[in-house]
Amino acid sequence: MKKDRITTAIEWLKDEKLDGLIAFNDGQNSFLDSNAVYVFSGVRPIGRSAVIIGRDGSSTLIVEPVWDEERARGISFTTRTRATENLVQALSEELTHHGLAGASLAVVALAKQSRALDRSVRSLLASEPRAADTLASHLARIRNAEELAAVKKAVWIAERGYERLVASARPGIREFELAADIYVFMKELGAEDNFLLMSASQHNLAVRAAGRRILQEGDIILGEITPCFQGQFVQICRTTVLGDAKPVFADKYALVQRAMRRGMDAAVPGATMGEVTQAMNDVFREGGYADYCRPPYMRVRGHGLGVTSDRPGDVVEDSDVKLEEGMVFVMHPNQYIPETGYLMCGETVIISHNGAISLSEADAELDFVSV
């Protein structure tokens, strides 16, 4: 089914009257970005890599290093797979093989590679290629059935990871020890990657990666749990109190939850991300926190999720991206509030005809760990 991505790319090439495209990745992965090589091959590369797609329907994946060939060949849905110690040289040979030397080409994500690679690739091409850096992200903006099943499994892993956090958190443990436990636990459940931020404080300014802090009674533990399963990142955001919390925490957490619900209701097909953001921000404005609806008191109200497609992008007031039914992203009205510090509440959602539907079994609540 992932092969559909190549088919749609070929249709795009025909529409644009281009002979072929080359998609690039340098081995880096971002949970906020599309990995173009993954989208067009199903392979998450470990080194520099490229996929060539010709308008004639042929496709070749090139990966570094040579010893990764067997894995890449076993996964890739391109017609050919080649491993090399020199991507640029192999690319040159494969362009000739595809009859694309001197042809009109588009390049996907070349602008995200190093200057050195950008220069080397351009030296191979007879003419200036068309930059199509967002093509992979655009073509994959609606998860297909296989991808959606992986999304749901990833959310299941995230929720189990959070349960593990609640079960393991205790005064005296260091942040990195807790993070190590839940990170490896989620790997054992199948998470191939995890943008895991998890930190604690008596008054958090924001969530961050785990450090050496020793957890104490009264800490507020923030968890941005972001496993990736079969190329699908998801995210849930949770707030956990170690011990008891002042009543104000419940009041303010209810505010964050209200913003989440308001945002989900507003997230209907055709609505812009700006409108969804405004719906969430209005809750905080009504609560007296208008001045805090901007960095550094929050970052965004949600965002798309790589490595397949980062669409619909950031949930921010100035985004005019329109939602489409079936889009998957995370909504999280995470917010710094002076009385409590930073609070986190977020779910991976899918857009339906009457709003966003959370993919979690249990949406975020302010949780307590007895000590």
Partner: protein
């Protein structure tokens, strides 16, 4: 070894002022200060990203967890670090570097302000320019406009790092201790009946619990013939275990191959080849000669394919700091440097790789870490 790069490096990355204090960075900064003075630069910038950040980490201790960062050193005045993260994340970023002023690289005005603060026009030195994306380089170029010409100065890092500094060597030694813990956990899990994936995870868990900043693994699903990254496939328990594990501690890497039950004859040959490498790690020894001797000790077996023809290389802030030990390498072994060594081969359906991390001194070689042999 190349492994799948994670979306975020999430270990404990705080600047450890006891192990790598400010005076250490004062010494390291002499390289930049001297270049600024001698070459008449108005300032210097040092770039790094999540994947390759040796230069940035060497001068600033900052390691981007994701995206990129740039340390900006003016000829006079306080340095600034730009990190490609939100302003919300800056308090956390400030705990990762000695540079007092850390700004969000998403607000490009900070770069413009730094440029505007430079009192003289002329030249800016730069390390890591080739790693930048064309987009970011374009932003830098537009900001400096006609005031400055950029002078690439990557050789400064090469010169500064012609020797591993004593504190670097000490920290690599600590990374080796964590690697030892990971190796023991992998072997214990394997002998307890775990599949290769779970055995590798046991090692990762142990290292992360010991404050490793990063842990990378590869496993062999076929008894040591090939290696692959983690794939959440928990069914493979071949007759022979081969796992690669690399551990990062305070910015510095140590690595090993875990192969405790390799075929005896193969193990003997791999260990003998590794011994040849270690014996030959003398200042001035030709890299190609070393490779030749190590190859001969494999008794006609080709070098294991996952080693890509290399018997070793420098290791430290990067898993690959260059100086590759290959049959066609030109250079020689330099004193004061830490090298990762490995030799391995395949016999029939079984593979084995023996490995070590060593420090070359004028008066002899110190083995910092050596993979466990057959047990």
């Amino acid at each position: 070894m190349l492994t799948v790069h994670p979306s975020i490096v999430l270990g404990s990355y705080l600047w450890d002022e006891e192990r790598l204090p400010r005076d250490e960075f004062d010494i390291r900064m002499d390289t930049i200060r001297s270049a600024i003075k001698e070459r008449g630069w108005a300032g210097a910038l040092v770039y790094g990203d999540a994947r390759e950040h040796a230069a940035l980490a060497y001068f600033s201790n900052f390691i981007p967890r994701m995206r990129w960062a740039m340390a900006l050193f003016p000829a006079q005045g306080a340095p600034v670090l730009l990190a490609s993260m939100s302003s919300r994340d800056m308090p956390a970023m400030r705990t990762m570097t000695w540079l007092p002023d850390v700004k969000s690289g998403w607000e490009w005005r900070w770069f413009d302000e730094w440029v505007a603060s430079l009192p003289t026009d002329g030249k800016l030195g730069a390390i890591g320019l080739e790693l930048m994306t064309p987009l970011l380089f374009g932003s830098v170029s537009r900001s400096i406009e006609d005031r400055f010409e950029i002078e690439a100065a990557d050789e400064l890092l090469t010169e500064a790092r012609s020797r591993h500094r004593p504190r670097e060597i000490a920290v690599i030694g600590e990374a080796a201790q964590t690697t030892k813990l990971a190796e023991a956990a992998i072997i214990e899990a394997w002998r307890g009946g775990a599949d290769v994936e779970r055995a590798a995870l046991a090692g990762e868990r142990r290292a992360r619990s010991a404050a490793a900043q990063d842990v990378r693994t590869l496993v062999s699903r076929d008894g040591g013939l090939t290696m692959q990254p983690y794939a959440a496939r928990f069914e493979d328990r071949p007759a022979n275990l081969l796992v690669y594990v690399a551990v990062k501690h305070l910015g510095y890497w140590c690595e090993t191959f875990v192969a405790p039950e390799a075929l005896p004859a193969l193990r003997v040959a791999c260990d003998a080849s590794l011994d040849k490498l270690i014996e030959g790690m003398r200042p001035g020894e030709r890299l190609s000669t070393l490779a030749s001797h190590a190859q001969a000790a494999l008794e006609g077996r080709p070098l294991h394919p996952v080693l890509s023809g290399r018997f070793g290389r420098r290791v430290g802030l990067s898993l690959d700091e260059g100086c590759e030990i290959t049959s066609d390498a030109d250079g020689v072994i330099e004193p004061g440097l830490v090298y990762a060594l490995h030799s391995g081969a395949i016999d029939g359906a079984s593979g084995c790789i023996s490995s070590a991390v060593v420090l070359v001194r004028e008066g002899g070689t110190e083995v910092i870490f050596r993979s466990s042999g057959r047990q």
